[in-house]
């Protein structure tokens, strides 16, 4: 199990995992992100908040180069991860995505068994040498996603037969099974009921001990509950970035304040 007895790490020791410099994103001729600079720290939950269409999901999809799959999307500037630019010519997006996992807004389990869903990533990346190792990876990932006790007796059943909350946790298990370094979550709770949401939120808190987690949410309460750092996006601009407590209690920018107090959104 996860080592929860380990003492909390000192904030000073946390190094920067991802740093974005002058990032611009265009869809065709439309600019979705303007001149964005941000530093995301390791072993931290960073929340992106802002009104819909503000570019938060777009930026999230830049971090694992998912935007490459959209023909009209174009990314400028640089996003450094552990000191190297992920948009360099030599970087293989396939390898990058193995390091940067992603969980989507709507649960999207493959129409395969629960086991195969979780084992898919390790299988394609060749992380297990034999069946026993694979079983262990699957179990660990499902335990990590707090799903193991619910599904351990029906691993061969279809992943699409689970409830919405279970499906989303299955997707999280699928993402953590490849042992990523960063986990991106795009509004992971928006399709879930309150109980499932709180389960997923608990999970995020646990995952922080191993990954850097970046979560996009439209719920400010959620951001306040789960994150240590918060970034506020508005109309393609990163307006304000800082400790979650500061953003919610002492916003520096009038737009942030307006959003938090519910006047824009």
């Amino acid at each position: 199990m996860y080592d929860t007895t380990r003492p909390e790490m000192n904030v000073d020791q946390l190094h920067t995992k991802i740093s974005a410099r002058n990032v611009q994103v265009f869809y065709g001729t439309k600019q979705a992100i303007k001149d964005l600079n941000v530093e995301i720290q390791d072993k931290t939950v960073t929340a992106f908040i802002g009104p819909s269409g503000c570019g938060k999901s777009t930026f999230l999809r830049c971090i694992n180069r998912m935007n490459d799959t959209i023909d009209s999307a174009r990314v400028e500037g640089e996003i450094m991860m552990d000191g190297s630019n992920i948009y360099d010519r030599g970087v293989d997006p396939v390898q990058l995505r193995a390091k940067v996992g992603m969980v989507f807004q709507k649960p999207n389990p493959f129409p395969k068994s629960i086991y195969d869903n979780v084992a898919y990533g390790p299988k394609i990346h060749g992380l297990a040498r034999n069946k026993a190792e694979m079983d262990e990876i699957v179990e660990t990932a499902l335990r990590g996603a707090a799903l193991w006790t619910e599904v351990k007796d029906r691993l061969q059943e279809s992943g699409t037969g689970l409830s919405g909350g279970q499906q989303q946790r299955l997707c999280i298990a699928r993402a953590v099974a490849t042992a990523p370094e960063v986990l991106l979550m795009d509004e992971p709770c928006s399709a879930l009921d309150p109980i499932a949401t709180s389960q997923v939120e608990e999970l995020i808190e646990q995952l922080r001990s191993q990954f850097s987690v970046v979560i996009v949410t439209h719920s400010m309460q959620q951001a306040a509950r789960v994150s240590q750092k918060t970034a506020f996006f508005h109309l393609g601009n990163l307006v304000e970035y800082g400790d979650t407590d500061d953003i919610f209690t002492r916003p520096q920018d009038s737009r942030t304040e307006a959003y938090i107090s519910g006047r824009i959104g």
Binding site: T69, V94, F104
Partner: protein
């Protein structure tokens, strides 16, 4: 004469329109409040005249032929129609004489009958014109009498239009009923001559039967198994080529091709589907079969001149766009979120396609493949031109095999006599073809529909 009848009914209905509209407007000008606009009074008259007169004319044209034939045949002098001579053949000959195509020196009674047939045709034409004129006049009179201020002309006209539209949609059903009925009717006559079990389980198909009773010839044999076997061989060859090529093309176009390449390549691929089958047949005999023979000779393998490979291969080429468009649709219908899920895990595009999209799209693709199988079984011209005529118990695609459709066409091409088992056998084959393809089509359409619902 037919033209005159049509002109008559058209002008009568137009006259009805003008007349009733004028009458209605006159009522209005007389100070009465009309329930319907004058136009609808006119429209009502137009439809009331047009529809019955048109139906009568069309039925007349369709039915006059058999009536005239019956009259001609019954007017033949006694003794010329004997058991030895097929009355169908006599009728065909008289018809062609009447049409001005005289071969050799026909007997005088045939010339006479042909003349009588022509005069019957002329009489029938005049009678039709007369009937249409009388009918139109009667209907014009009826509709004119109905013009009144409170006559609901719009509702009446709309009722007629609604009836017409319902008839139109029922015609599609009638066509199916007509197909089933005609096939079953002739097949039943066939099975009175040849037992059903001989047909279904016989292993010899030799439909050459004596035309005259005294002719020495082999008894015809009507066992469908070798014909069916040949159909399967050719279908298998076609599917064996069309499915992998179509599928891989769809995967390439869907996943790897740039947008501009796709915009050019897809229509070119569709061209293959637009080429008439007779062209493919010609291609098979002119280019493919000789090429296959030459390659076979070079390799020391004997290849029959009309090998099943040529017909099946060309049919496979024809089916490529069919498979590829179905596969393309099925792959595109897989939700984007599944694709994103796989890619975000670090799967390459090919892994995404093969492990996630393709398994999810299999039902849709299967539906397309089944429809392609049904097409291949029912495809006619390619095999008529490029496959063999002799039915053998043989599944070697290098040899010549025959198919159901080839046999249907060979049995029916040229003059047909509807009382010989040879002609009727074609209908029995047709019935079998219809049942098999219908079954496959229903299955395929159901699979495709289920698949679409799953992701909608």
């Amino acid at each position: 004469m037919t033209g005159l009848a049509f002109a008559l009914l058209l002008s009568a209905s137009l006259a009805g329109y003008v007349m009733n509209r004028r009458a209605a407007l006159a009522l209005r000008d007389g100070g009465q409040r009309l329930h319907s606009l004058g136009m609808f009074h006119g429209l009502y008259a137009l439809l009331l005249v047009l529809v019955p007169a048109f139906v009568v004319t069309v039925l007349w044209i369709m039915l006059q032929g058999s009536a005239i034939n019956a009259l001609t045949m019954s007017g033949l002098p006694d003794g010329v129609v004997t058991d030895a001579v097929n009355p169908q053949l006599i009728l065909t000959e008289i018809q062609s004489i009447a049409g001005g195509r005289i071969f050799g020196e026909p007997e005088p009674w045939k010339l006479e009958a042909a003349e009588r047939m022509n005069s019957l045709h002329a009489a029938s034409g005049w009678l039709l014109v007369l009937v249409v004129a009388a009918l139109s006049a009667a209907l014009l009179y009826t509709s004119r009498r109905q013009v009144a201020a409170d006559f609901r002309a719009r509702q009446a006209a709309e009722r007629i239009v609604m009836g017409l539209m319902i008839t139109c949609s029922l015609i599609a059903v009638f066509v199916t009923i007509g197909i089933v009925f005609s096939l079953v009717f002739e097949s039943v006559r066939f099975f009175q001559m040849v037992p059903l079990t001989d047909f279904l389980f016989g292993t010899r198909w030799e439909p050459q039967i004596p035309i005259r009773a005294d002719q020495v010839a082999a008894e015809g044999a009507f066992g469908v198994i070798p014909v069916f076997l040949g159909t399967l061989v050719i279908t298998f060859v076609a599917i064996f080529i069309a499915v992998p090529v179509g599928l891989m093309s769809a995967i390439y176009l869907n996943e790897f091709a740039s947008r501009s390449f796709r915009a050019v390549a897809k229509p070119i691929l569709e061209l293959l589907a637009g080429i008439p089958t007779v062209v493919y047949g010609f291609f098979a005999i002119l280019t493919v079969a000789p090429a296959l023979r030459a390659w076979g000779a070079a390799l020391g393998i004997p290849v029959a001149p009309n090998t099943a490979l040529a017909a099946g291969g060309v049919m496979g080429i024809m089916l490529i766009p069919f498979i590829s468009s179905f596969a393309d649709d099925a792959l595109s219908a897989v939700p984007r979120s599944l694709r994103d899920g796989a890619i975000a895990l670090g799967a390459t595009r090919s892994e995404t396609v093969l492990n996630v999209l393709f398994p999810a799209a299999i039902p849709g693709i299967m539906g397309g493949v089944l429809l392609a199988v049904s097409r291949a079984i029912g495809e006619t011209m390619i095999v008529v031109m490029a496959a063999g005529l002799i039915a053998t118990m043989n599944i070697n695609p290098l040899d010549s095999v025959t198919t159901i459709t080839v046999q249907i066409v060979t049995l029916l091409i040229g003059d047909t006599a509807f009382d010989s088992p040879k002609t009727l056998a074609a209908f029995a084959l047709g019935l079998m073809l219809f049942i098999v393809t219908l079954f496959i089509n229903i299955l395929a359409l159901r699979i495709v529909r289920k698949y679409r619902e799953q992701y909608d």
